[in-house]
């Protein structure tokens, strides 16, 4: 049984919705009634059926619409996709990884045929059937990274590893939570994380870098991150701040449930075999408050998390303006009863 891909938009009329099955599989990021940074990294292994972890690269009902939105972003701003000259080999690594994983997880939608370095890639949802020579960029319509990430949900950063550090030397970034590849390109791990509050003092980045530079082939890792977005907009980039920044002033007690979205990033980390680089897919999942609160446990827990969030984090995540309205709305769904431990709905 294949996925039924939704026709929907992430801009203008914002017709994005989650089906009931997709609400239940949403990767709710809070395992307890409070949130603080931690190095919450775990092995990226297959999870339960019906969760976003049932395949290591997840394809869902938003796939086609997300790829259309990505094409619109790239048409307006080609610098969302950049690859420094030494990163082409890593781009081929990524192409192989994403084709293999998508074909493995969704054989009804994707097929990869290999005959030596002669490869055929069939992507049925997007109507693509291309034959090319692996390693020969001239046989594809785009560079290998751009080609495959125009067909894969989520943003992708490819990090070069050298001098005991990681360098943001290539990426496809169109669904980001207010950061810019064009600004960060060529930066190292500490440089691109410089704006994050509190975590530096806790030594989190030193430990995280040590872990990431030791990620091994065949042993990917993952973590969840989160923020909130007003309207289901995938492209909340600094470049387009003038389009989405003002949305934050439009939240009212009447429209909270429809406008405010929890935005969760499933970040994974993979060693790339030929280039020895690391790829860092950042997969964005959106859920509007009206959808989220259909799970009473999530409603109670989110209320407590947002209410008690340290001020610095609320500011960094851009919640300041509408936090009181949101907390007030959520409080009506929190009867004070205990929540079960773990992420899932009851």
């Amino acid at each position: 049984m294949g996925i039924t891909f939704r026709k929907e938009t992430f801009r203008d009329d914002f017709t994005f919705r989650n089906s009931p099955e997709h609400i239940r599989r949403f990767p709710f990021p809070f395992h307890e009634d409070a949130y603080m940074y931690a190095v919450n990294i775990e092995p990226h292994v297959i999870g339960p059926k019906g969760s976003v972890l049932e395949n290591l690269i997840d394809v869902d009902e938003h796939y086609v619409a997300e790829m259309q939105d990505r094409a619109l972003v790239l048409a307006e701003d080609p610098l969302r996709c950049q690859s420094l000259p030494h990163m082409t080999l890593a781009g081929w690594d990524l192409l192989e990884l994403l084709m293999e994983q998508q074909a493995l997880g969704y054989p009804e939608h994707f097929t990869l045929e290999r005959d030596g370095d002669r490869w055929r890639w069939i992507n049925r949802p997007l109507g693509i059937d291309d034959t090319f020579t692996f390693g020969d960029t001239s046989t594809l319509p785009y560079g290998p990274m751009e080609y495959i990430t125009r067909q894969s949900q989520g943003d992708f950063c490819i990090l070069d590893q050298r001098d005991g550090n990681l360098w943001m030397d290539a990426g496809m970034v169109t669904t980001q939570a207010d950061w810019s590849l064009d600004f960060d390109i060529g930066m190292n791990f500490f440089e691109w994380h410089a704006p994050v509050p509190l975590a530096h003092e806790k030594g989190i980045f030193v430990r995280a870098l040590k872990f990431l530079t030791n990620i091994q082939q065949g042993k990917p890792a993952r973590r969840l991150n989160w923020t909130m977005t007003v309207n289901p907009r995938l492209d909340t980039s600094p470049e387009n701040y003038h389009k989405w920044g003002p949305d934050r002033t439009t939240v009212t007690p009447e429209n909270v449930g429809d406008k405010v979205h929890l935005r969760v990033e499933l970040q994974s980390f993979w060693r790339l075999p030929r280039s020895n680089g690391i790829v860092f897919p950042i997969r964005c999942y959106l859920i509007k408050m009206d959808e989220l609160v259909t799970q009473p446990k999530w409603a109670r827990r989110l209320h407590r998390v947002i209410r008690d969030l340290p001020e610095e984090l609320a500011t960094y995540k851009g919640l300041t303006r509408y936090r009181p309205t949101l907390v007030e709305w959520l409080s009506k769904l929190d009867d004070g009863s205990a929540t079960s431990s773990g992420f899932g709905p009851d």
Binding site: P43, H86, L89, Q161, D163, K210, Q216, Q217
Partner: protein, 321 residues
Amino acid sequence: MSTGTTKLDVVVSDVVPVNELVTRFHFRRRDGELLPTFSGGAHVVVEMRDGDRTRLNPYSLMGSPLDTREYTISVRRDDVGRGGSLFMHRSVKAGLEMVISYPVNLFSLDLRAKKHLMLAGGIGITPFMAQTAQLAGEGGNFELHYTCRTASLGTYADLLRERYDRRIRLYHDDLDERIELDRLLSTQPLGTHLYVCGPAGMINWVRDRAASLGWPPEAVHFEHFAAPQPGLPFDVTLAVSGKTIRVGEQQSLLEAIEAAGVDPPYLCRGGVCGQCETNVISYDGKFIHNDHWLSEEDHRSGWKIMPCVSRFEGKSLVLER
């Protein structure tokens, strides 16, 4: 956070004597599938079951990364070492089933380089076998200078000359041929990266000269082949697991910890990657640090030890393991 590597079940598909000291071993997957792709400079850790003893030794992959039907390593026999190379030479025959780790690369090419200048000494040639194959496949610009004791001990020298012709320069100790290092290092085009693999003395010499001649440290890459050294037996208390163990003469501290059923993380087993870094709770005696991971300050402090290569002499040692 588990940081070990995945294991591969392999069978020895061929054993080929290369010269009087070096033998090459070929591995294929037991299930007939392709092995994982790797990058030039990567190593695998080979598990050797020798009676009731298990040795885990790292060896550079020397085949072409473009061919993953088999992995090949070359092992130099060390008659006074701890026995790993002797085990490989004497006991490993075609058809033997073995377990190796996934490839790990701690000696990676810098793909930004306009030119790759490689210096090899002796068995330090092995990672360059894979790196030159990788670069040649991509049309990369490299030059390899290879020092060996005699022509007959110049492992793969003929093969390299045949493949890459004048990009390979050979130096034979018995003919008193020496790399003109200063001239070589001072006449490279901008954007050249330097790679050196061989005996510690050679690596130190090259790094020193490169630094004196103004090479930026980011452009100088090296791989120490730091095998654990044998030494006097010593006793260690593992405070977390509540065990007291004895480290044998031919055993590394890491191997003794593993033999006691405690599994610290590891990758290189050669004092480079930092994975098995262990805190010292108390000690009365002196450390013999052989690693390239801890700072000199760490070595002096007595707070940390790298159990894969370092040892201890004295009355007591308590580790946080």
